[in-house]
Amino acid sequence: MNLNQEEKAMLAGEFGPVRKTAIEHQIKVGDFFGAEDFVPVSQAHIMADTESLGEAGVLWLESLAKNAGKDRTVRIPTITDPRGTDFNKAKQLGQTEVMLALEKRAIAAFIKMGVSMTDTCINYQTIMAPVYGEHVAFGDTGVVIYSNSICGARSNFEGGPSALAAGLTGRTPRYGFHIEQHRQPTHRFLVRWTPESLNEWGALGGLIGRKSGNYWSVPVIEGIEGHPGSDSLKHFGAAMASFGSCALFHILGITPEAIHSHDLHYTHLAPIEINKADVMALQSSYRVSDEIDVVVFSAPQLSLFEMQSVAALCDGKKFKKPLLAVTSPQVKPDADRMGYTAMIEAAGGTVFAGMCFYQSYAREIAQANGWKRLATNSAKMVNILGGYGYTPILASMEDCVRAAETGRLA
């Protein structure tokens, strides 16, 4: 990679050992992908739950954090993805003191490095959405695909070590979706049916992701009627990223790089038709049981309006099965103030903040609580949880709440 004077100085250790470690890592990644140089970034977002980090990852963070303050502090606004717990309700999940102690150590290390503990995967709805053309270094695949596609920002998937490195150096290797030519469509989808519910949007996103195949695929979607809102596109993108590892999509007439169809080169691509039956088939493939053990709304964390919808459905109900609604630390106080939390919890549900279900020792909490059959309206989550030993079932928010009340999906 071509390095400027400042980058050469970082590599030589003139900005301290932490930034030297960071830029060495970034150069390895940049060389792997053939990056010519670095691009400055304005924000970084770090995914780092301790189920992923483990003891080894936390020790590594602590080894960075013990350096001098001037050496260890991030250079740009750097925020965090959900943590592995909500400390106020960890015992209810069956999380152990060992898990919580590890979480606390990771948090302490990040704070020493100047990282802002936002603990959210919906920063584009709650903290500061990036703007068109802004280069950022975001973790969480759902955050990246939303920021690239809906906001028009420029980011690759940045795993925790790389996002932290970007926070420390203020830059990231210029490859992938930082380069204009990689943002052009590679797959063209003609959608014959526009979803309505969030689970349907997620299922459509999952199907397009599955058909697109890999990270470097950029789907362009035609045929969407009306204008889906932020929550629909959140589920659509998160599922596409989960099923297909996609980081960018375009919807003609809706997303910023596809407002004018002539800006995209896609007419040479053979259209792949998708109809309602295709989408419902993906959803049905997860419907292996009517009986459920737990209902979870999470992945991504719920917006204030999703919390409002869940609360309205819970109002006056009495649940037989646990219902978990997971939101961000930014939304939770508003949900409390507006009475949504009380409505959910009066029915027997629980509202969690600052975590995400699958990032919170999902295997261990399943064993602790006897949970296996999990109903959710998140297509992203059903794609993930099979590997954690769950039988996940995709259904609408309404059906999920009803299942918490009756113990089975209708």
Binding site: F33, S52, G57, S245
Partner: protein, 139 residues
């Protein structure tokens, strides 16, 4: 005569030699592995139930979330980790994870590497040369 040396577009990490597990499916440490017990745990994965420690994984594409970047390092530190991962197509997360964890990785071939390499073959990965060599084929 069948081809026994393949050249990748992307490469990193140390030279390694070992037996491979091949699957025409994607790979994510979060989605597919029981990292506590060191086995593939997604029931629909072709390698379900198989232990992955000290194997060379030959898989189609990198899937899923950003967690794998931490998880590879964590697996490496517990000495319960693949020797190398070989992809047809890689994503940044797995490449970043390999860089952080210091494991070998190759990606991008002129052939579908998952059909070219029979599972159970003994392979030599040389990232400096960007090559994968079949030392002993399982076919």
């Amino acid at each position: 005569m069948s081809q026994n040396i393949f050249t990748a577009k992307h490469a990193q990490g140390p030279v390694v030699e070992g037996v491979c597990l091949t699957a025409q499916d994607g790979f994510s440490a979060r989605y597919d592995l029981d990292r506590i017990n060191g086995v593939f745990s997604r029931p629909s994965h072709p390698l379900y139930g198989k232990p992955y420690h000290n194997t060379i994984l030959v898989v189609d594409t990198a899937k899923g979330g950003v967690a794998s970047a931490w998880m590879i390092y964590e697996m490496k530190m517990r000495n319960l980790c693949p020797l190398a991962i070989v992809f047809n197509t890689v994503n940044p997360i797995l490449a970043q994870g390999a860089a952080h964890g210091g494991i070998a990785m190759l990606a991008g071939f002129e052939v579908d590497i998952t059909t070219a390499i029979p599972s159970g073959s003994t392979l030599r990965i040389n990232p400096a040369m960007k090559t994968l060599e079949i030392i002993r084929s399982a076919s």
